[in-house]
């Protein structure tokens, strides 16, 4: 479980996140949505301990600042929007790097680390790719390798920054289904998402940010209204709602 209380992230005089308080329950999926510059990524980075923040981030009720970097890394795995994937590294080596918070500073991987990495590879059906260099993988395979690295970290909270950028429609669904399945294994998921329809389909709670503040929060049906999208994205959309979910369809104004 991860929680923030009155979270502020500032870049000099500009506040990217203004007083965010959120609570992501265990095994839940929370999506941060909002237009460009709304503060989604800054909020996520603060949750991962990567951005300086004011206010509190609580991990299982404990102050993240007091836990220290390694302890936080054992509780929270973070996947950036554009992860670095050194081309010559094999998938297995890359996934093993996810074990870093469990390995002493000058140490090397032990049997338990190799087992955890092997489990992560199996979970994402990457066994065949274990010895392939990252540079030889397709976009979808690479995204799975990145998820496997985060999974090998064995942290109960998984933060994903725009997990579906640069993937085609089918691969987007594949990755999101995978993340959903991992949730079934007990992971708490917080993502930022651009695609509102997909966000509504997968996350059970949406938090709409604009200019750093929460402007709407709740289920897809509650948050994804045409007036909300018009007011905060400046977009003209038609919202279609049926038993399958909420669909946001962009409409040309002229």
């Amino acid at each position: 479980m991860i929680e923030t209380r009155d979270l502020w992230v500032r870049f000099g005089p500009v506040a990217a996140v203004r007083g965010l308080s959120l609570r992501a329950e265990a095994c839940g999926w929370t999506a941060l949505i909002g237009p460009n510059g709304a503060g989604k990524t800054s909020a996520l980075r603060a949750l991962a301990g990567l951005a300086h923040y004011e206010g509190e981030v609580l991990l299982d009720g404990r102050d993240a600042r007091r836990l220290g970097r390694r302890a936080v890394a054992r509780l929270v795995a973070f996947v950036p929007q554009k992860p670095e994937t050194p081309a010559a590294l094999t998938v297995a080596e890359y996934v093993l790097l996810g074990r870093t918070p469990h390995i002493p500073y000058f140490g090397g991987e032990g049997r338990r680390d190799r087992e955890a990495a092997a489990r992560a590879l199996r979970r994402l059906e990457l066994e065949r790719f274990a010895e392939r260099p990252l540079g030889s993988l397709s976009g979808g395979e690479l995204q799975r390798a990145v998820l496997a690295r985060a999974l090998a970290q064995e942290a109960p909270v998984l933060l994903l920054d725009e997990p579906t950028t640069a993937l085609d429609l089918g691969r987007q669904q594949l990755v999101l289904e995978l993340v959903d399945a991992l949730r079934g294994d007990g992971l708490t998921v917080v993502t930022t998402m651009h695609d509102l329809t997909l966000a509504g389909q997968y996350a059970e709670r949406l938090i709409l940010l604009d200019a750093g503040s929460v402007v709407a929060e709740g289920t897809a049906a509650e948050v994804l209204s045409a007036p909300n999208v018009a007011a905060h994205y400046g977009a003209n959309v038609r919202v279609v709602e049926d038993e399958a979910g909420v669909f946001i369809l962009p409409l040309r104004t002229r």
Partner: protein
Amino acid sequence: MTAAAGRAEAAPRVEARGVGLRAGLATTAFLVAALAISLAVGPFHVPVGSILRSALSYVPFLHVHQPLDALDRAVVWQVRAPRVALAALVGGMLAVAGASYQGVFRNPLCDPYLLGVAGGAGLGATLAIVYASAAAAGSNWTVPLAAFGGAIAAVVVTYALGRSAGAAHMTGALVLAGVTMATFTAAVQTFVQQQHTQQLQNVYAWLLGGFSTATWSDVGVCAPYVAASSLVLVLHRRVLDVLSLGDDEAASLGVDVSRARLAIVVAATLGTAAAVSVSGLIAFVGIIVPHTIRLLVSTSYRAVLPLSLVAGAGFLVLADVVARTVLSPSELPIGVVTAFLGAPFFAVVLRTARGAR
């Protein structure tokens, strides 16, 4: 999950490639061969076998008969051996420091002189040669000490300058600060040198580097620095692999990135400064050796760091053999040799390795 675990399927090989037996043996053999050649080759011919037996004769309880007469012994153990040892120390240090800088700045073109070590040492040595030689002519340590001090001072200023640009863009700012420092020290050094043209020869000889005056006391002074800094760097080999994922991801994996970077930079800089102060500015070793290892063995720092240390030592020992034999009895500056031999060799490695993939 349990069903999958129960199935008797071939588990994927989940391992991080390290040095590897073959690469480790090949690199060690290269160093040993380089050492043997270097001890044997020179104006006085001494057979390798005799050198080996002579070495063993110093080991207590082995009772190996000393095969060399007093003159040969002096040539091998008092003239050649310190020179070979110093070349090995400096070569290993420059290579492992270069590899570490490339890792910590995530830039394949970084060399050990990146943060102003070369410029600072060059300026320090020039000032010592020009101004202090009259006052401290008796001491062999004036120039190395000045070079060491200059190198450290330059890097400290570079680091302070880079830091003032803010932590977010630290690596880029540090590289720029290093370039600034190198340009500035080069300007001052050239000015001082032009004001004292009578010392031009001495300054030039130091800048181009070499081991012609190497003694066991040089080795003794240099060795602890090289040992300590290469130990620290090799211990960071896995951390460097984590840093190759970028600052953010390394931090999200629990690594204190700025502290790790500082430790690596301090170790690499101290070792490089010590190496430079006894050898002058030897170019190219810190770039060519790590990249050759990357192309031939692995890009993981777990292979690159230890193998660079050993291969760099062998490479500079061989380069020194060429430097003192090609124009014997006069000597080529070793920096000329490393660049002249290194560049075509590297071109070949680059071509074959790319072709093999």
